[in-house]
């Protein structure tokens, strides 16, 4: 395929896409853990908030979320800051808006994955940890979380695939990711099929890489299976 000298543009776009995906993954995991903890907590308001969060986000198009945060995020932040007497202009850049929207979406689905994984840990393990004299947080971090992690990785891997593909939406607000750079290339070459196809192949490579990474993580998080599978 003849890229007519636009290869470096696509590579820089791929780099932006990767950065965007990883940043959103990290922030999204925090949202997911917080959401799951809230859903399983004894506090009714926390449960109510977490349920509201997952229900809302899972029913809204990601594109609408990206647009709303990009065009309205600054407005809302300034509105909130105004309550605290801060009156300066707040800028929400494309990258920040992208990470915010993608991690909010990822977090909503990750909440369910973490919740199911936490529920799958037998209650006896909590009791055993407490019986050994560990505090509740220590039991959580030493005993529960490593196992939650192992159970959650396959589900999170799927969600990361979805996240990778959703990064394309951020091109709509002008971030120079793979999609945007393909469009730049198209505007001078007038070959939309060629360049969108190249973009599609790059995404395929990225999702394939993500799949093998997930498999690696699965193996690493499961000491029992390390020797058996190769």
């Amino acid at each position: 395929m003849d890229l007519q000298g636009f290869g470096h543009l696509l590579i820089s776009g791929t780099w932006i896409t990767i950065q965007l995906a990883i940043a959103s993954l990290l922030v999204g995991l925090v949202f997911g853990l917080m959401g799951a903890a809230a859903k399983l907590s004894d506090n009714r308001i926390a449960r109510w908030l977490a349920t509201g969060y997952t229900t809302l986000v899972r029913g809204l198009p990601e594109l609408l979320l990206v647009l709303a945060i990009y065009f309205g995020g600054a407005q809302i932040l300034m509105w909130i800051a105004g309550w605290f007497g801060y009156d300066e202009f707040i800028e929400v850049g494309q990258f920040t808006a992208g990470v915010a929207a993608l991690s909010i979406a990822f977090g909503a689905y990750a909440t369910e994955v973490f919740r199911m994984a936490m529920l799958a840990i037998p209650k006896g393990q909590w009791e055993a940890g407490l019986a050994c004299g560990m505090s509740k947080p220590r039991t959580f971090f030493r005993i529960i979380l490593p196992q939650v992690w192992r159970l959650a990785i396959p589900g999170l891997g799927n969600l990361f695939q979805v996240l990778l593909k959703d990064t394309a939406l951020v091109s709509v607000v002008g971030l120079n990711d793979i999609m945007r750079q393909s469009q730049v290339a198209i505007s001078s070459t007038k070959e939309p099929f060629t360049f969108f196809m190249v973009a599609a192949l790059i995404y395929l490579l990225l999702t394939a890489a993500a799949t093998s990474f997930t498999m690696l993580m699965e193996r690493m998080s499961n000491p029992a299976a390390r020797g058996n599978r190769s």
Partner: protein
């Protein structure tokens, strides 16, 4: 020819000396442009900012004897960046609108924008309300052209709005659009490209009273200085020279 080139180089060196001097005087002006709106501001293959806006910016700085630095900034963040003092002025083909006047000040206009229809050669479409009835007309979303279409022809034509101007060109070429309404000058540039061959302006220009100015922070005295400098380069012919490099007609 050679003499003229030499002369230009000499002028450049002289210019840089002048600017180096004023830099010590401490009035360095940082100017933002977008770099994605040919032929007004774009990036060449070396990564340098070029275009009509950029040349006007340089001419104005020379006129004001100021040291200037021109930086690229994405369109959507260009006004927030100005307010955050990342730079002091925006010369990026920005229309003076009431919305923007609420948050920034503008110099006087440095050119006037008009709208024009682009159609395929020989399509014989009459760009009047009656002539466009039932036709498909495109424009970029969130632009004055898009708003003009919706306001004036929304009831009789099929209006299609695109996320980028390039996508609208693609659809014009693909034959999905009967006509395209656009800012005239960038479209003029497109018509001169290989892809634009076979297309032409149709009908009269639409003057929507759209003036393009230089945006500065509210209350900044720079707006007055720019206005004076604009008048000066228009009067001494510098403006006309830059103008004719890009367009065979005056856009002031």
């Amino acid at each position: 020819m050679k003499m003229r080139k030499l002369f230009a180089v000499a002028a450049l060196i002289a210019g840089s000396l002048v600017s180096a001097q004023s830099a010590t005087a401490g009035d360095k002006i940082r100017i933002a442009t977008e770099g994605a709106y040919a032929p007004f501001n774009m990036v060449d293959s070396n990564g340098e900012l070029i275009g009509f806006d950029v040349e006007i910016a340089k001419a104005l700085c020379a006129e004001m004897k100021a040291d200037c630095e021109i930086v690229a900034q994405d369109w959507d963040g260009i006004i927030p960046g100005l307010r955050a003092r990342k730079y002091d002025a925006i010369i990026a083909s920005m229309s003076i609108t009431e919305e923007r006047l609420r948050v920034v000040d503008f110099s006087e206009k440095y050119y006037s924008n008009v709208l024009a229809y682009v159609t395929k050669d020989g399509s014989n479409i009459e760009v009047t309300k009656a002539g466009l009835k039932g036709k498909t007309v495109g424009a970029q979303r969130a632009t004055i052209a898009g708003q003009f279409l919706e306001d004036n022809l929304g009831d009789v034509v099929d209006v299609k709005l695109y996320d980028t101007q390039d996508n609208a060109y693609l659809d014009l070429q693909a034959g999905r659009l009967d006509a395209l309404l656009s800012d005239k000058f960038p479209a003029f540039d497109w018509l001169r490209t290989e892809e634009g061959a076979g297309y032409a302006f149709t009908g009269e220009d639409i003057d929507i009273n759209d003036e393009i100015g230089i945006a500065v922070r509210k209350g900044d005295a720079l707006s007055g200085k720019f206005s004076t400098a604009i008048k000066a380069i228009v009067a001494d012919g510098t403006y006309a020279k830059i103008n004719e490099k890009y367009f065979p007609f005056s856009i002031y």
